[in-house]
Symmetry: C2
Subunit: 296 residues, 2 copies
């Protein structure tokens, strides 16, 4: 039996050590680095970096080979949270159990800390000590995958669509397309980069892409459910906010019970796509289930 | 006699065509791409990309080899303007002769358009069709140089220091260090990347770095002078704003005449560092003079 909570704890520890190390040499007494560290080292779930490491593992690669990519993904995710929380966007006060970055510091510092984490992600990805030339083109490909997923054709487009749809009714299909961009794109990038950096075969990449689509959507459906019935203390952020903002969510469109069933079906599909992988993919299997069973 | 204005016009044209092409395939009817295009294709001076191209030329390289880097530099510069203009930062209404991005669209769109341009810069840098493997490691190095210059150790740190120093008196040395980060770092990166991509020798890179330091500072001194005595119609943005905000500027500390002399000395130093280059560096020479003689 695979012990997921021990696995996540161990991976999170390694990710946190790596993130700390990246920020270590910086001028930590300056407000910009304090703000970056404040948000980055807060108690996040680290889903994207853990998925990145687990994808590498499933293909038979080593953690060391992909750790910089895992760190960069968490930086990009954190930057997107800082900017999404700003008064001009979702205007949220609480994140990862703490005041949001613009509340703890100020708006200008929060904007710049987000910018700085996004930029640092690419600095990390381009500063890897690669040994052979094949390696350098792999990292270039990783930068391409991540920047495309995070950019105006991916995550940023999803955030724009999300804001534009507040107070307007979406169909389930429209909701799916929006989330495929807003959260799905970076989750897919996390899995593909992990696999690519340990030289996965094309067929393995295709399977991981399908898996990513399923769990990315299940992740969002579960987020929506947790916004209805989650415990804000456990989640580290406010609940009930989607309803207040008239956001389009799965529970609002399908109802809670049907949303739960939908998420479960997606995870079953995800598990099925992994059938051709051996037990090295057990972390990915356990993570798929975790994604809908989590309480935060 | 080198014809600078014709040269700048020609280079700007090529840069604009390349930028247009990058944005061409996107969903231009969406607000995010409209906002990106609005700010990016506004009538900017294109100093950074022109310096990048001129550095490549000085070393004997071709424009085609560095054009993606030139475009990425302009995207990063434009993102920094969009974010600096936000209400939480400098709260400026006019830029490049038009309403600023958050005025023309809204604050959320402006934040995301800035994020998207920063991200797109790295997408462009990592999507170059390189032919041999040496090439791919060159582009990785360019990403490292640009992300370091633009990040929390460079441009962003400079912006933080700039905001923190409003209303507080700086010495000339403190002002120099601040500007070396805020504008100097990306100008230096522009020159180094242009040279690196056409395989400049280490000694040539060193010279260009010195040149960059001189003209970067001269650029900022001139910006400060123009903020005092420039014509807002020609400049496309408000003047007199530094005084209103009690910003530390060279004219405020040294006086106008001494500032002009200081900028002139810096340009003379810059020209002297170029002495070992042949006439292929004439654009760089002319650009040094242009930087202090410009009216916008």
């Amino acid at each position: 039996m695979f012990e997921l909570s021990a696995y996540i704890k161990k991976q999170n520890q390694q990710i946190n050590v790596a993130l700390e190390k990246i920020l270590h040499d910086s001028q930590l007494s300056e407000p910009i680095t304090e703000a970056m560290k404040y948000s980055l080292m807060a108690d996040g779930k680290r889903i994207r970096p853990v998925l990145c490491l687990a994808a590498a593992e499933a293909v038979g690669g080593k953690l060391q080979d992909v750790l910089p990519a895992a760190c960069a993904l968490e930086m990009i995710h954190t930057y997107s949270l800082i900017h999404d929380d700003l008064p001009a966007m979702d205007n949220d006060d609480l994140r990862r159990g703490k005041p949001t970055c613009h509340v703890a510091f100020d708006e200008a510092t929060a904007i710049l800390a987000g910018d700085a984490l996004l930029t640092l992600a690419f600095q990390v990805l381009s500063s890897v000590q690669y040994t052979d030339e094949n390696h350098s083109s792999n990292w270039l490909k990783v930068i391409q995958i991540i920047s495309t997923a995070a950019g105006y054709q991916g995550m940023i487009r999803g955030q724009m669509l999300d804001m534009a749809s507040e107070g307007r009714h979406l169909t389930v299909d429209e909701l799916k397309s929006m989330h495929a961009l807003k959260t799905g794109a970076l989750i897919e990038a996390s899995l593909l980069c992990g696999a690519l950096l340990v030289n996965a075969r094309k067929s393995q990449m295709e399977i991981l892409k399908t898996y990513a689509g399923k769990i990315g959507l299940a992740f969002q459906v579960t987020d929506d459910i947790l916004n209805v019935e989650g415990n804000p203390k456990v989640m580290g952020k406010a609940v009930g906010t989607d309803k207040l903002r008239e956001k389009n969510t799965y529970p609002a469109i399908l109802g809670l019970e049907a949303s739960r069933q939908f998420a479960e079906n997606l995870v079953n599909d995800a598990l099925q796509t992994l059938e051709v992988f051996d037990k090295k993919a057990d972390p990915l299997r356990a993570l798929a289930t975790y994604i809908i069973e989590r309480k935060r």
